[in-house]
């Protein structure tokens, strides 16, 4: 028998919210004491959140509560705002993503994003999906073809567009455009997909198609979705975080949060008393 003399470093005391959410799934994002300012506006205050792998995490809250800001911090898109200041910690699989040495280009390949308004490029359907692969240096036509087909199938769009891949993406309907944007994100083979109110610009039928799609994507991806629509959060997510004025008021399993919230403010919000 060999004895190792590794001294255990004492674990840092985690805030209680972390304790409450411990379970078997791996943690992808660990956010600790995250503060964010736009100029003088304090947009995120002491946010602590654990996001789990291969789950759908919903973020709800009234307009201006910081939910989109938090989402955009996870792939550092928030840095496109010049006045932004961030303090605190976010680790992605134990790597500090706010560290300058973590290249945003790498982070955004691991953490893809789908936006509120469908935003395909004014290019062909094929070129939209192939864009990510191309910027990462893939030139081989056969590989690109395969990536495009697989991504479009993954986004449940292949059957609708396979005969017109060379047509401009703006000929698609709004719902199809949004699924194209999802396909485009799948094409960079990310680990996590961030969705910023992906159905808010869509009609109910397109919305339900996207929701179905999100459910199937859960098998392979960790999904974080910001939504205005509480029913949507209740329908599709495993966990829900309720943001208010830049703070996380409550974070729990979705059934628990919607059936038996701990905080009075959560209850008021989900029962439609404000927001």
């Amino acid at each position: 028998m060999s004895i190792s003399f590794v001294t255990e470093t004492p674990k840092k005391e985690l805030p209680s919210i972390h304790e409450a959410n411990k379970q078997s799934n791996q943690v992808v994002f660990d956010t600790k004491q995250l503060n964010l300012w736009y100029g003088d506006t304090h947009a995120l205050k002491e946010v602590d959140l654990l996001i789990y792998e291969k789950e759908i995490t919903a973020i709800i809250g009234p307009s201006g509560c910081g939910k989109s800001t938090y989402l955009k911090t996870l792939n550092r898109m928030v840095e496109l705002v010049p006045t932004v200041k961030i303090s605190g910690n976010i680790t992605y699989k134990n790597k500090d993503i706010l560290d300058r040495s973590f290249k945003v280009e790498e982070l955004r390949t691991l953490v893809g994003m789908v936006f509120q308004k469908p935003n395909p490029f004014p290019k062909s359907i094929y070129d939209n999906v192939a864009y990510g692969a191309k910027i990462h240096g893939i030139r081989n036509k056969k590989i690109l073809d395969e990536i495009v087909e697989r991504s479009l199938k993954g986004a449940a769009l292949w059957d609708e567009v396979k005969d017109r891949l060379k047509e401009n993406a703006y000929g698609l309907s709004g719902g199809q455009q949004q699924r194209l944007c999802i396909a485009r994100t799948l094409a960079i083979e990310p680990d996590v997909i961030l969705m910023d109110e992906p159905t808010s610009a869509l009609d109910p039928i397109s919305t339900s198609k996207i929701e179905e799609l999100i459910q199937t994507l859960k098998k392979d991806y960790s999904i974080i979705i910001v939504t205005h629509n509480m029913q949507q959060a209740a329908r599709i997510s495993d966990r829900t975080a309720f943001f208010l004025n830049g703070e996380v008021v409550e974070y729990d399993k979705t059934e628990k949060l919607f059936s038996n919230p701990n905080d009075k403010r959560t209850e008021d919000y989900i029962t439609g008393r404000f927001g």
């Binding site: 792939n75 982070l107 955004r108 308004k117 004014p122 910027i135 485009r184």
Partner: protein
């Protein structure tokens, strides 16, 4: 109780409609002022010059004899000027616009540079002529060749191209650039694949309009000392030259000596206007044809 008294409203109605009609005619007059002056100019120029435009006039060499004078030298001079001005302004102008819009952080330095560029666009062209004379003709000792004239004109129109290119870049919707950044593209990849294709029609339109401004400029060329009479055709950017507006200027100046020079000037104006018309039409064509819609 109604707060608006219907009978008083009725009384005012007449006046309001009258005012409406009067203003329509005032605006019409304002439009007519420009149109009438322009039409007069064109009619006079065509009247004086059209009869003088023939094959010999377009292809001939300059001459003191009005009957034998041709403007091929000036046409070639203008052509070689454009060979210098077009690439210099496009590359430097679009490069500057990309740096200012996409790389330089918003702040004091940025707004200082921006203000200066806007001011430079309003500096009288003769000042650029003096700048060109000092730097290119004398300091760099080029003499009054095409290159010196072209660089001077480039300086003159650069602010116009920069501002046009900046506006074209700003008009690219942020949701497109965000989508590109969101997939891990670098700034340059986003510029090359997304921003430039979307902004290029606007940039080219601005560039062509700036070129047509450069073609018509006379003052800076007079300052750098473009002579009145050059017999050999310029065959490259290092040759001495004259240009269409210079030719118009000198012929108009000398029309008190030889009356026919006024007709030659008018004929040259027709050629110059035609050239500008073609350039501007190209600009409009490019804008309409390649503009992307989202």
């Amino acid at each position: 109780m109604k707060l608006m008294d219907p009978s008083k409203m009725q009384a005012r109605m007449h006046r309001r409609i009258y005012q409406n009609n009067i203003l329509k005619y005032i605006f019409l007059l304002a439009t007519l002022f420009g149109l009438v002056v322009l039409a007069t100019l064109i009619i006079r120029v065509l009247n004086d010059g059209l009869g003088w435009i023939d094959f010999n006039f377009l292809t001939g060499r300059l001459s003191n004899d009005a009957e034998r004078a041709g403007i091929m030298g000036a046409i070639l001079g203008t052509f070689w000027l454009m060979v210098v001005v077009a690439p210099v302004t496009l590359i430097v102008g679009i490069g500057t616009a990309i740096f200012l819009e996409l790389y330089l952080k918003k702040g004091k330095a940025q707004s200082f540079i921006q203000t200066n560029i806007s001011n430079l666009a309003g500096v009288p062209s003769i000042v650029y002529g003096i700048l060109g004379l000092t730097i290119f003709v004398r300091l760099m000792d080029m003499g009054n060749i095409v290159l010196a004239g072209g660089l001077t004109l480039s300086l003159l129109v650069l602010p116009i191209i920069i501002v046009a290119a900046q506006e074209a870049i700003r008009a690219v919707p942020s949701f497109l650039t965000e989508a590109s950044y969101g997939m891990g593209a670098t700034k340059w990849q986003t510029i090359k694949n997304i921003i430039l294709p979307a902004a290029l029609p606007g940039m080219l339109t601005g560039a062509i309009l700036a070129l047509s401004r450069a073609i018509g400029e006379t003052a800076p060329l007079t300052v750098i000392g473009i002579p009145a009479l050059i017999i050999p055709f310029p065959s490259g950017i290092t040759d001495k030259f004259t240009a269409l507006p210079m030719q118009i200027y000198y012929w108009t100046l000398d029309s008190s000596l030889v009356a026919e020079y006024a007709n030659l000037a008018a004929a040259t104006i027709v050629v110059l206007l035609l050239l500008l018309f073609i350039l501007n039409s190209t600009a409009i064509f490019i804008r309409n044809k390649f503009q992307q819609r989202y």
